[in-house]
Assembly symmetry: C2
Homo-oligomer: 513 residues x 2
Amino acid sequence: MTRRTPLILIASLLLCHAAAAQTVNSVREYRRANEHRIFSEFVQLLSLPNVASDRENIRRNAAKIVEMMNARGLKPQLLEAATANVPPAVYGEWKVPGAARTVVFYAHYDGQPTDPAKWTGTRPWEPTLRDAPFETGGKILPMPAASDSVNPEWRLYARSSSDDKAGVMAILTAFDALKAKGITPTVNLKFFFEGEEEAGSPHIVEIMSRHRELLAADAWIVCDGPVHQSGRKQVVFGVRGDTNVDVTVYGAKRPLHSGHYGNWSPNPALILVKLLASMKDDAGRVAIPGWYDDAEPLGAAERRAIADAPAYDEQLRKELGIARPEGGGKSLLELINQPSLNINGITSAETGALSRNVIPTTATAALDLRLVKGNDYRRQVARLTEHVKRQGFHVVDRDPTDAERAAHPLIAKVTNRPGGYNAERTPMDLPVSLSVVEAVQATSEQKIVRMPTLGGSLPLSLIRETLNVPTITVPIANYDNNQHAENENIRLQNLWDGIDTYAALMTMRPPTK
Amino acid sequence: MTRRTPLILIASLLLCHAAAAQTVNSVREYRRANEHRIFSEFVQLLSLPNVASDRENIRRNAAKIVEMMNARGLKPQLLEAATANVPPAVYGEWKVPGAARTVVFYAHYDGQPTDPAKWTGTRPWEPTLRDAPFETGGKILPMPAASDSVNPEWRLYARSSSDDKAGVMAILTAFDALKAKGITPTVNLKFFFEGEEEAGSPHIVEIMSRHRELLAADAWIVCDGPVHQSGRKQVVFGVRGDTNVDVTVYGAKRPLHSGHYGNWSPNPALILVKLLASMKDDAGRVAIPGWYDDAEPLGAAERRAIADAPAYDEQLRKELGIARPEGGGKSLLELINQPSLNINGITSAETGALSRNVIPTTATAALDLRLVKGNDYRRQVARLTEHVKRQGFHVVDRDPTDAERAAHPLIAKVTNRPGGYNAERTPMDLPVSLSVVEAVQATSEQKIVRMPTLGGSLPLSLIRETLNVPTITVPIANYDNNQHAENENIRLQNLWDGIDTYAALMTMRPPTK
């Protein structure tokens, strides 16, 4: 680009803009004419239970995606790991004669585990339409007939409706639209749909290593996560790392009647609350020594991008019913650039209707540790474990033996779940970074948001470390999708917008500046 | 007794002992000859789900007990509360011509709620025999045929096998044995089987008030709870009071992705652990101001009885795998004479296979407060609530409104479940107290234990306050029965011993000293 004259540059820029605008219009035209078919195919995909540990059903999902890709001529294949019987990745490709660059489009088809009983009025794998979010009184609607129009503000409720079958659907439908409208992609397309991202991607390195040549590319574009809370589209250049730690503490070997033994037999629920309370201060800051030491400070470009991002904390605070956020006054965007320690859940015996007057035998907390650039997840887990020891606990990695129980008043089982990984950040000034920003901007009248890092985590460090390729994340889901929780949903307009976005990415051009 | 001459006293004493010994032998003879029939009837009773809130099934239990009492000629009737559709008490009676005293025999037929999925190998309402406790490797046995002998060390697993259908069964079978052997009870017998004791007896006062004349008696003998941990029989003169408090704290209104919002959105699990940690010190002593202020010190007779009780803490400690009990070195018996605050359970989102990387929306603790003589449960709950307020919480009694969420960073819902009651203690030197001790002692070669109070709770203060009658508790269950927890069981010998005990109580005589 640098050798062109300004005049040619301007001409090229105008042509590009015109071409991009034409592409967006064509894609929208296609989508409007095919909404019911797209919707129906999505509902079929969402009807398949997709927890990665449910090995039988997860393969039914993979088979469905193979069927969808076959119908599009994408030559699908299952990429298996070396380990037997783990969820395969589904791969497909579309070569473009003369294309100089190759881009892998990533999404994942597995979803977070969920307790169907906790869903309100709908079930995780029975996709259901509502006319608005259920939290604001949205009513359940009948599924639309082929002749019905679909209101883009409607919400489709199902596990993975946003995270991340929306990604699979947007990518494959964007391809349909280009093909139907005779628009040739500018890059060779490869598709990689992972099947155990929500389990921490324990086999993605195996799969990538075994299929290194097939997966060769200039960049991976990752469709996962929500758009900005303001509703603006965003391009994200990094993700936090993540690892999960489970902590269990022990009381008597038998559940005991709280009347006969209370005041005497140690209560593991009390032991756990004391331990967890020691890990963070009242403002939510982690009190474990060294927790913040390794985090690399943000650079100038990243600080500028954060400053440019829409101010949204105040609206979010009101909407979520939060009187005082954690973090001592720092903004959400600043805070997601710090490592975190979050309690995902605590269980000890029962509460509510099933609660009984017992002293529980154990108490368990599920923790997740988010990591930023500079952190290593193994080092953070070691710091956490050291902290538990300093609180007087004998630390084990399985249930204690009788001899250990006899010897140690305080015992904690601390286990690091498989599948942890570190944070990743792609430079914002690479040519492909600039191309992606321009392609996405061309689909939106609002200024898109450029984020140095998403708060969420994806195994992007594993992709770069294994395949030596940069990753850029372009999310599409509505931010209020109840991701990872019960009542997950997608706003249909977000799926429609996602189709535009991914068609634009498949036809992206070299950066104009 | 005081006017008799010493010679007559001795003769009477010998006669009494001889009569008591004869009764025990006859009752055992009856039981040995009818073990299979007793066992079968018990299994039928245990097969009926009996959680008090399960209104349909609880009435099936009452109907079964009516049927059992009809078969014995005990003229059963259901005593209903004034409130509609609550579990009835089942009442029956047997008048003894010339008897000067009337005793009500109490047990309860409802059981604690339980999660069937947490039972190990058996289900709560499918009674199952094991050859030993499952914790020590006990194997499941087929149900014995009529011709099979029954090993008294076997355990019968079922909800309420110990607590407290064993009470119903022992009382009704003791009566069978006396009747079959032609032994006339020494007192008029009344039977009162409650149907919602485990729910905190919310309607027992209503029922007693409506049937005051029917229930007139000189004493109530209560069959509930375990024998002493040493295996010795015990007579208990008091119980602790009890009340339950549920505490829920709040985070954002929606479950949030811990990556996108962790470090910024308040985590209710963290808020709860901080709050609970503030309630007790590391040794388990309650840190809420005034908690121990109202407890009446033990009198000389009670201190003597505690000193006389077998030293059992050390063995219990080993058996339960407890390296260091709470209480700073005080004995279990001393500690149950102090008020307590116990965490029965904590839940916030999920742990284990269902855990997800979320920030929970709420965190809940179930607490029970045990009370000793001098405490008032309303006053203890007020102290707890004040403590929560002093930790900076806005306290509500239902979920907070949006306006409350906006105004208060910390909100706690603190609710006191219906059905709380105070502690009760009957003087150990009443004539009926002495009679009961002698009757139970006559069935045992080991010295029985006299306890000023049980650690557990029964609504005995309500009985005395409503009917102006003393209560004495004579438990029969094995102490390792997993009372209130999953895998509840009874050791068959404890049921057999309980039959002896209750037959002795139905034929008790005035005290000899």
